[in-house]
Symmetry: D2
Amino acid sequence: MSPLTGKWFIEYTHPSQAHMYGIERYVYDGKTPFQSIEIVDTDFFGRCLILNGKIQSAEFDEYIYHETLVHPAMVAHPLPEEILVVGGGEGAALREILKHPSVKKLVMVDIDQEVVKLCQDHLPAWSKGAFEDPRVKVHFMDARKYLEENKTKWDVIIIDLTEPLDHDSPSHLLFTKEFYKMVAQRVKEKGGIALQADNLNPRLLQYHGSLYNTLKLAFKHVDSYGAYIPSFDSKWGFIYASQDYCAADLQPATIDKRLEERDIRNLLYYDGLTHLNMFSLTKDIRTMRSQEKRIIEDHNPFFTY
Amino acid sequence: MSPLTGKWFIEYTHPSQAHMYGIERYVYDGKTPFQSIEIVDTDFFGRCLILNGKIQSAEFDEYIYHETLVHPAMVAHPLPEEILVVGGGEGAALREILKHPSVKKLVMVDIDQEVVKLCQDHLPAWSKGAFEDPRVKVHFMDARKYLEENKTKWDVIIIDLTEPLDHDSPSHLLFTKEFYKMVAQRVKEKGGIALQADNLNPRLLQYHGSLYNTLKLAFKHVDSYGAYIPSFDSKWGFIYASQDYCAADLQPATIDKRLEERDIRNLLYYDGLTHLNMFSLTKDIRTMRSQEKRIIEDHNPFFTY
Amino acid sequence: MSPLTGKWFIEYTHPSQAHMYGIERYVYDGKTPFQSIEIVDTDFFGRCLILNGKIQSAEFDEYIYHETLVHPAMVAHPLPEEILVVGGGEGAALREILKHPSVKKLVMVDIDQEVVKLCQDHLPAWSKGAFEDPRVKVHFMDARKYLEENKTKWDVIIIDLTEPLDHDSPSHLLFTKEFYKMVAQRVKEKGGIALQADNLNPRLLQYHGSLYNTLKLAFKHVDSYGAYIPSFDSKWGFIYASQDYCAADLQPATIDKRLEERDIRNLLYYDGLTHLNMFSLTKDIRTMRSQEKRIIEDHNPFFTY
Amino acid sequence: MSPLTGKWFIEYTHPSQAHMYGIERYVYDGKTPFQSIEIVDTDFFGRCLILNGKIQSAEFDEYIYHETLVHPAMVAHPLPEEILVVGGGEGAALREILKHPSVKKLVMVDIDQEVVKLCQDHLPAWSKGAFEDPRVKVHFMDARKYLEENKTKWDVIIIDLTEPLDHDSPSHLLFTKEFYKMVAQRVKEKGGIALQADNLNPRLLQYHGSLYNTLKLAFKHVDSYGAYIPSFDSKWGFIYASQDYCAADLQPATIDKRLEERDIRNLLYYDGLTHLNMFSLTKDIRTMRSQEKRIIEDHNPFFTY
């Protein structure tokens, strides 16, 4: 049993708060040019991916994170065909997107080829073969540069990035007003974007609130939504943004109908009732979010703990 | 800052999973005839109450726990006048119940007089004077014995107990089919009960699922609901049960209207939209709960980790 | 058993090294005008005193620390009559000194009256009534000021102080060349001083080495010595200094003879063979100490981690 | 800096006592047929070898352990030529033994070929080429079986084994009276043996005391000795046993003379004065050891925590 191994991973969310994960085995422990990476086996959460000292996803509950990130935006769109994923190196966002039969083209842009390779080798259950799907194309480059150089528009853009720790973080300029305005120009009519958007713990809502404010400057409709993710020890925030749709208004019956029409039957987390849960924010989160006034800009970035 | 003190409280949820809380100060550290009790100040969560090595409530987020425990059952009832609280030593359930102006009689039965006294001394923000309210009466005795001896019926019964650790735990016979059947007989027509009902982490759903099954044997309508509680590091489970109402069917507008009619304007967590969030369980929890078949009985108790 | 309580005290000796002590009970947790103080019960080491987040002494092994601090200097002196203790609030140094029947006058100067009071209340086994001995007199004041104002000379001076953490630490000017030179002037002929002198871990020898160098400027003979103290997780350093004696040259037989002549029979740690162990430093410590060149001065203090 | 990695190794010496080591990198994490093995880089102690969840040796201070294990026995012998090492997979005992120029034949018997291979690959500084020395021969087999089958006698036998955790531990029958009696028959006249012999913390002296008692049944002279090893957080015990010599009686000048005659000048830890330190046990350890009466036998083994 894990504790006997003496190996623990301790993740601080605050100088006086931490979560201890007992480790069975360090499958991989190294550094890429962009970040530190560990792949570990835990007794409780199964295999986990850790980047820069933070749990990114766990075998046991990555379905929650990835279904939450992908399906609301995909279901909100009546016929999603061309999809862009920014970040998302594990390949699990690809896996979920490909469940929608209308998808014709799926491009992923991730800066860190080494992480993608390590995930394919050690986390095959995340991508479940998605990287081999003929509709999928992967570019290893900075996503901001990619979007500057490629004016293509997309039905859905999924942004799956880790918040920057400092100016050196590769995602430093991928959480700003300038970036989101460019993203907005790459979305087709009736399209939308979805992104992971930091912690929804009401005490730690500064980042989420700032992202919400910042996206409001680029999109007409912006909806926060959330999911409790056990391996993060937290309710985690996401945002859906669109010029055309308000995802929070989608009725459970509509969700269930679209999933059925698309013959998507094997989801573990997402359905109409779950959609209702995700998009009905509790009062304290609404209050705290409204008190956050910050805008994130290229020259005024927001670094995480 | 807390970490410099070297004082940590480490709560295990599993042999290989733990949460570390940096402690500013141990305000009280002792034992009552029934349990160990610590009252601590933390930098992150403010003052916290710990019973038998488990965080019970924290200054920062006890509003989530207590509003969630109390208001759905109180709002579901059109005119709650006579209320019983089983357990709930901190007095915060009393505080929330008294916000409903129709309340005429409020009885609390808690076995541990010393905990109640320590909470009044050290956690006054929890009860906010509720113990001095003339409608409130407290009996220090075993709740099962109280219910056996008192045949009075109640509009709402709120059960706020910690799961038993072993046969010696005072709550040992307060989580069983036999107990809930007796509770059901003490509820008036149109009435209902609400209880805290263990972790909703899908990996740890055994206790919640068993409680759900057990309550189904005593009540016609049983609804699981949940709230993410940061200091518990988890989405926490609650159950509403009634012979007459299905709380999950209450519409947000109805909730908001009743709160307004009762002139309850100072809630931090609960309103119509929050009610929707609470009662819309995600698909994985519904699935896991349906797989749990256990019934808790006097001769077949369920002890927690 | 302790781990079940969830209460831990974690002491860092370095950013990546720490010792975890399972706590049974926080007996006292507070602050004096000079320092933070905790008195705790542990399963392994019994009752412990913690000042400013560092274990000072433990019921189980304080005999090692205090016998080591006191007896070499007392035995080295042929007839110690007038003794000064600088610091030493717990009273255990007094207890050991009073075992020498020649003692006529024993003065302790400690700045923190509150710590002394708390130790008398909660750690009575440390002082074992020494504060009530008619030969003992305690002054609550800054030791440097005391020595400036009182020109009395002493047979033995025992210095039992914690290293300063910063300029605000009350011991800030009690570890410097200027202080030791004044101390040297307060020692009678044939007299000597002993002090606790930081960690002897060869990786952490900077403080000890600096103290050794600094004392060499004030005394003719300076001897490092050490004792492994389990509750410190370390071999701990002490220094004996004198104008007349070299404690390291005292033979085991001489030590045992003097202890017998003085009818001191109840020591747990110190005797002739132990003296040999204490003063025979291992080669690595001798090497590392010789590489440390620093001198501690009033205007060039040395703060500990 | 290490703590930022979140990776910690926590070694318990008791249910309520533990040491936390911040890990830079897991170089290797696996299992052999006989034990679990981790090779890690730490900021404080450099590279470390961990077997079965216990730190075995650290780059920073393995010189203390291995010089202490090897040199007293080698120096006590006037002309050590044929040496047997039981266990000692890292090869550092070989390295130290080969510093004695009289050595003609050096055989190591270790059950775990995989550990030896991993140490050669990842801990080359431990063996410093010793495995390539033509005088060295390694047998991968159970040491008890080896000694039963090989009646050869040796000048010095060095036993470097980890205490058994249970009946399945490969060293289960290598710490017993029966084993030591056989070892005694394999020592030539004027020869002796040395072994690592568990913790010298006076609170944890049961194993050391039992080994001492057990060896007394096989050898005429048995001397406990110790060294403080920072990475073990403890004073560690060793035993020298012989039919002819009492190592504790060797004078510092004799030690230094023999080291000089053998032209051994590059030791970091061991010399005459260090020998004095090692063999002068403090009074508390002598007392505690004398209170331990246990004998370890094949049918009455002693398992460690």
